[in-house]
């Protein structure tokens, strides 16, 4: 990024470097949320409905994993993807894909835990009905996920918030490479270390504005969906 400019100027002039950073931030975090949802929603729903020994312990652990420290996740993914690690031959370290993997690991427990709670609450409401209609376990999971879809948007947004805000994991596995793996949060960390605090603060404001925009979009989508569902 050019020196001696404010973040506002960069936004107003549509600075290509800044736009690339914003784009990569969104791609990485949204991809991670999609992947984490594909894993977390079915897992959370199944955990809500299926009784098995040790279920309470699994719920406690899952809830605790919502607080996974990003730097620890980053380190674990780094060790796995490093050339000297078990998945080194994939050659993914210091690429955006590695960043998506790390954020997926961070976000999946959040979505799974919130899904589990949402579905379990809904299940109490639907139990008699579904029992009477003799719906099998897969049908129950599908029905409850579908009927909880608007509430689950909040779980996805919680996951997105976590992904968009973290720097600890992606700076380790992405390397903060200019034009390749630099995101909003790693750019803020870099500008802070260069002592350009005004630019760092400005980029922080841009990031917050983007997160608000994504939330507004999701909210609008949810409202529109609810109206259509009647």
């Amino acid at each position: 990024m050019p020196g001696d400019v404010s973040a506002l100027q960069l936004v107003l002039t549509g600075d290509p470097a800044l736009l690339a950073i914003v784009r990569l931030s969104l791609i990485v975090s949204l991809s991670a949320v999609v992947l984490a949802a594909l894993i977390g929603i079915p897992f959370g729903a199944a955990l809500a409905l299926i009784q098995f020994p040790g279920r309470q312990a699994v719920i406690v652990v899952l809830n605790a994993l919502m607080g996974l420290p990003p730097v620890v996740v980053g380190l674990a993914v780094f060790l796995a993807l490093s050339r000297a690690g078990p998945l080194g031959s994939w050659g993914l370290l210091f690429t955006p894909k590695a960043m998506i993997i790390a954020q997926t690991v961070l976000v999946a427990p959040i979505i799974a835990a919130l899904t589990r709670q949402t579905i379990e609450d809904l299940w109490l409401e639907y139990r008699d009905e579904l029992n009477a209609m003799n719906v099998g376990p897969v049908g129950r999971v599908a029905t409850l996920i579908w009927d909880a879809r608007f509430s689950l948007v909040t779980a996805l947004l919680a996951g997105f918030g976590r992904a968009a805000a973290e720097v600890g994991a992606i700076i380790i596995v992405g390397g903060n490479i200019d034009g390749f793996t630099r995101t909003m949060t790693t750019a803020i960390a870099l500008e802070t270390s260069k002592g350009d605090l005004p630019l760092a603060v400005g980029l922080g404001m841009v990031l917050i504005a983007i997160v608000i925009a994504v939330n507004a979009l999701a909210w609008t989508a949810r409202r529109a969906g609810e109206r259509m569902a009647g």
Binding site: S31, V34, A84, F94, N176, S193, K194, G195
Partner: protein
């Protein structure tokens, strides 16, 4: 339906991301924060790319971490500044050959009020002794970076065993050069920094250069290809092209031409075999 369209857009972006990440002619260089934060790479890499078409991706780390990245095979080229550590890396067989590239120097910066009374001295070792004797606040990188290793070496030359002699005045922050300068600026402490980072640093506050110009503050940078015999994934051809360009007449001139506010930051010396 709106939600479905949104989901499709997200799915499309994921697929698109996959194709956008495909890249071929590129190398990964593990280097230090001083070369990146000063803007040197921003100056050199476009020239190198225009000439060879090779994309150079830089991961800026402390020298200790950069060497570890090379040892693990996660980088193709190392561009660092700690000769002893570089030679150890070579002797372990992880590097092919070390080429000297350029030098600059370290400076001791501190508060304008100069509570240690060392401003203007050219004797860094005496200055370090004064800091210790008076127990003046000093920020240490504490991160095994090249600058940290240079600092530890200066304590040793001063006859001070900093591991046992350090008091509450000696603060190891375990972070990069920028963070160390931010900390020193915020707490009116002394800190050893490379001149390039200092010149380009924007949050100097009350900090000024206190001690400079001592021969023992010399800071040599070297470049090495990670050994393809140890790590077959190393892009030997492209990596060597980058090294050859850095030490060529053209690359050396590009380094000399890099200036901030008219001041040259790095001095090319690839032709000095002993560097």
């Amino acid at each position: 339906m709106f939600t479905r369209r949104l989901l499709m857009a997200i799915a499309a972006s994921v697929v698109f991301a996959g194709s956008a990440f495909a890249q071929d002619k590129s190398i990964l260089v593990a280097s230090t924060t001083s070369t990146q934060d000063s803007g040197l790479f921003g100056h050199l890499l476009p020239m190198f790319k225009a000439k060879t078409g090779i994309d150079v991706k830089v991961v800026a780390q402390g020298t200790g971490q950069a060497i570890d990245t090379g040892r693990r095979g996660d980088a193709d080229v190392l561009f660092v500044h700690a000769k002893a550590a570089e030679e150890k890396f070579l002797s372990e067989g992880f590097g092919v050959k070390r080429y000297p590239v350029m030098y600059n120097d370290f400076v001791l910066v501190g508060p304008k009020s100069d509570p240690a009374g060392i401003k203007g001295s050219k004797d860094i070792v005496a200055a370090f002794k004064t800091l210790k004797d008076k127990g003046i606040d000093f920020i240490s990188r504490g991160d095994k970076s090249g600058t940290h290793q240079a600092e530890l070496n200066l304590w040793k030359v001063a006859g001070i065993d900093i591991a046992t002699d350090k008091g509450p005045w000696y603060k190891e922050i375990g972070q990069g050069m920028g963070a160390a300068l931010n900390t020193a600026a915020a707490s009116n402490a002394y800190v050893l920094t490379d001149r390039a980072t200092w010149l380009s640093f924007k949050n100097k506050g009350e900090l000024v250069i206190e001690v400079e110009g001592d021969k023992r503050l010399f800071n040599q940078y070297g470049v090495m290809l990670v050994n393809p015999a140890k790590h077959p994934n190393v892009k030997q051809d492209f990596g060597q092209q980058f090294i050859d360009w850095l030490v060529s007449t053209e690359g050396q001139k590009a380094i000399a031409d890099f200036k901030i506010n008219g001041e040259q930051l790095f001095y090319p010396n690839a032709s000095d075999p002993g560097a």
